[in-house]
Each structure stands twice: as C-alpha cells, then as structure tokens.
Amino acid sequence: MDNIMPVLAVRNMSVRFGESCEYCIKGCAVEKGRCPYCHTIWALNKVSFNLYPGEILGIVGESGSGKSTLLKALYFDMEVSCGEAYLSEYREGRENIFEISSQQKRYIRNHKMGMVYQNPVMGLRMNFSNSANVAEKLIAAGIRNAGNMTQRAEYLLSHVEVPVSRIKEEPKNFSGGMQQRVQISKALANNPPVLLLDEVTTGLDLSVQARVLDLIKKIQLELGISMIVVSHDLSVIRMMSDRTLVMLGGRIVEEGLTDQILEDPIHEFTQTLVHSLL
C-alpha cells in the first residue's frame, strides 16, 4: 500500500491532559498513559497511522486506551497537544489539519468527515425532527433550499431504514438502534470521504447490532467511503475491518491485517485481548 496515497495520514498525534514535564515530553517516562513525575495523562501518545481509500480501519483496545479520544481529536471535538494529520481531500493533503483555523476545521467537519458517536445525544439534537438533524449538515454546507434538503433527508433516512413517515418525529422518541441509524444518515449527508464510527453498536441487542453493522458495510460498499471503526468488541472488528490497530495506554502497540491480528497476535496485550473472548 506504500504507493497508494492515504485518505488520511496521521503523524505523532498526542493528546495530553495536564502540564507535562521534561521527562514525559521525551516520552520515555510515560507508563500506561500517565507520567509518574508530573501525573500528566497522555490519552494519546505519538500515534501515527494511515487510512487508505475505501478501507475500513478497525481500532481495538481496552477501556481508557484512547480509542474514542483519537476519533474525537480527528473530528476536532478535542484539541490535540501536538502532531499532524493530512486529509487528501483538503488542499490535496498538503496542510496539517490540526493547525488550520476553526472556520476551516468546521468546513472539514461539515464537508469532509462524518461522525457517529457512541452516545446519540452527542451527535443528534434530540428536540429537533429527524429531517432537521440530517439537514443540519446540509445547512452548514451552505444549502438554502428547504425542499432539496427534505428530499435529501428522506433519501438518506430511508437508506438507513428509518420509515419516511417518521422523519418529522424527534429522535428522542426512537430506540437506541434507530437513533444510531439517524446518526449514520446525518453523518452521510454531504457524502464525506471519511466516516468515523465510535462504538456504534454498544448498548444494542445482538439482532439490532447485526442489522446496524450490515447497514454500515452496505453503505461502505455502495459509496466507497473510508471508515475508522472504534470498538472494544473483537467480533465487530472481525466482521467490519480490513486492517486493525491495537491500542494500549494511548499508544498503538500492534497494527496489521485484521485476520493476522486476530489469528496470530504478536504483542502480549493483543494476545491477552484475543484470548479473553468469553
């Protein structure tokens, strides 16, 4: 894959909470995401990876390993402490998207990326209709024709199997699975080249989980979107992702093809993770 230009290239991305000292800045002192001297938490510690066109990249790890922080930082919900990221669809991948203005960051959020949060409350306006939730992205992209926006919302919501008759309802009246579907349609509103999915099936029962995952897979095949799927559920990663990153204490400890990671794990943590399936 070396000669293929990645859709998203992340280099040495760090997110830390705390003052940080010279020891932890050097990186050698940090253990399990925390500096023993200044107690700064390194939620992400010099993370680097590539996301290739049409690829589903899985990220697994234990709770607190930095998976969700990684997605939130990429979606600009959280400031990064240092690092670089290049998006091929933004100024041909020449500009570090962590250093652009907040207006430009908003442009990327609205045009070039979609995000599906673990908790639908984070991604949806619960007191607005489903149609308005999808339209929010279109409005942010500058569309000022209500009829066109409604058409687009109907198309996307029916695509994720939300009945058109219910688009005027508010998502707060929906089940968790239905709310996730509305979130997915909202994230897809402007045909973003990159979709970030944060534990989308957590809290859903098995049959709904399977339907949501099938839906995501179907959308990915139809639209060829590159996706980053974060989960602590290895069966979700096995089903969805082409490549997988394993995270521990804010670092990537193993990276490779999903089958390779799950069948023949090298790192001790990955081995524990794979063998701790119930």
Binding site: R106, A132, E136, I139
Partner: protein
C-alpha cells in the same frame, strides 16, 4: 415644555455625564459595525431590568434639550411602561414629548416600529429583551461570540427549517432574525415580521438596547437588512389583507385584534395608536 419641568435634583437625563459618554462610545462602535452586539456597562435605573432599561439608557445618553421624545409600547403611547419611561425622561430632562411620529426626533419603542416612514433626522431606539439570535443554539456567551466571529449561523437556519418541516412554514411570530449588511445576524427585537422590511435601507438610525443583557447594537441608515428565509420559502409578513381599522379606516397597517365581550364582536384597530389618532384628527 421648558427646563422648568426638569427636577433640579437630577443631572440632565438622569445618568451622570461619564456614563452617558461611555454609552455613546458603545453606540458609535455599534454604528460602525452594523448588527454587531457591543457590550456596555448597563447602569442601574429607577425601573427594573427587563422593563426597557437598555432602550432608556440609549435614549437618555443621546437626548438633547432641543429633542422631542416619543415613547411607545407595542404601538401604544398610553401603556403603563411607555408612560413611566416618558415621565422619567421628562422629569430628568424637561424636554418636550409627543404622540406623533413626524414631530419626534427620538422615538423609543418596544415591539413596534411606527407606521409612518421615518426620516434621516430621527433616531429609533428599540428595547430588546434578548439580543442574541444564537441563544437558542448555545446557552454559552463565549460560544455564541465565536459563532458570530466565524459567521456560523447554521443553528438559526435550522430553527427556521424545523418550522417548515413541522408546520409547512417558518414559525417566527416576532423577532424574525435578519442579516445585517451581509455579515452579522441579529434579532431585530420582538417586532412583528410586518416591521422587518422597515429596517432595510431606512433613512433613520436604529439603535437597539438590551439593559439586562448589557448589549447595544445598531442598524445605520441605508444599510441592507435581509430577513432570513429559504429560497423556496420566501420571507412573508403577517397577512393584513381585508382588515380595516374600526377607528380610522386604515388598511395595510399592522393591527391589534380586539374582542368586545359585550357585543361578542371581533374587530381590528391600528396597533400604532399615534398614527391612528393622527388619521382621525385629519379626518375630523
């Protein structure tokens, strides 16, 4: 009226000179950046916050001895709030007041812009309860200021769209947001949509004061003011067709709907009482 109406124990126009100067500086900044909300040190007044203190502070800061003041509340010169504000202004300045728009040089109003076209030698001061059009989007002042700085008004457009989805039309009765000079979106105070077009390319200066929220903003003369609307759902004013004022016979103005419980009769009369009275006086 002359200076002998003025209570000698008060400084001219109640506020001390330093306060008036500071408020005038804020007004100048607001005029320089149309639609931009300028924070100011809102003073204590002998009326409660939320009862027109923002508008009153502007009026008291700009008023001179030669000015003629008109104060209206929802179109009426005789409502309690309008009478109280007028009394305070007269007691502390001794200036003349009027009920007729064309005679006034400074007009302070709540919820209405007079029916008569305003001139370039007049200043319209509007009392504003909630100056922030983004308050529905975010309760945080720091966030709303950032959104204004980035001209990020999606949340306001979303509210308009939600009305279209649920009711087939936008549902802003009053305070319909406007874009000023193609830059800032502002709340035009809770005037009916009927009055929004009067702000556009007007001859007079509009000043908006929110005492409780400590903000002043302005629409200078001949400024583009566009009411927000979608391409396929154009902005529309309240329908007044077929309505006639029972008192003066006026049509095409904004009306109050009156119900007479003795006769069970519904009728309309001009919301702008000064305009209505003037028409009746001319007829008689």
């Amino acid at each position: 009226m002359a200076d002998n109406n003025k209570n000698p124990h008060y400084n001219f126009a109640f506020l001390d000179e330093g306060s008036k100067r500071e408020i005038r500086r804020s007004i100048l900044k607001a005029v320089a950046i149309p639609g931009y909300q300028v924070p100011f040190g809102s003073r204590e007044l002998p009326i409660g916050r939320g009862w027109g203190t923002g508008g009153l502070q502007i009026t008291l800061s700009i008023i001179g001895k030669a000015d003629v003041l008109k104060v209206i509340d929802q179109g009426s010169d005789d409502s309690v709030n309008a009478v109280s504000i007028r009394k305070l202004a007269v007691a502390t300045t001794g200036i003349e007041t009027t009920a007729y728009t064309n005679e006034a040089t400074v007009i302070q109003s709540r919820h209405r812009i007079p029916e008569e076209k305003l001139r370039n030698d007049q200043i319209m001061v509007l009392q504003v309860p909630n100056p922030e059009p983004l308050r529905y989007v975010t309760p945080k002042e720091a966030v709303s200021r950032k959104l204004h700085a980035e001209a990020e008004y999606s949340g306001i457009w979303l509210r308009l769209y939600e009305g279209i989805v649920k009711y087939g039309h936008t549902v802003t009765g009053a305070d319909h947001p406007v874009s000023v000079s193609g830059r800032y979106v502002m709340n035009p105070s809770p005037i009916p949509r009927f009055d929004n077009p009067k702000l556009h390319n007007s001859d007079c200066l509009y000043l908006f004061g929110a005492g409780r929220e400590k903000k002043i903003y302005a629409v200078p003369p001949h400024t583009d003011v566009v009411s927000l609307a979608y391409d396929d759902y154009p902005f529309s004013i309240e329908n007044v067709k077929g309505r006639v004022c029972k008192l003066c016979g006026a049509t095409g103005v904004f009306f109050d709907e009156i119900f007479d419980s003795d006769t069970n009769e519904h009728f309309f009369q001009c919301s702008d009482s000064g305009f209505c009275e003037k028409r009746r006086r001319e007829v008689n």
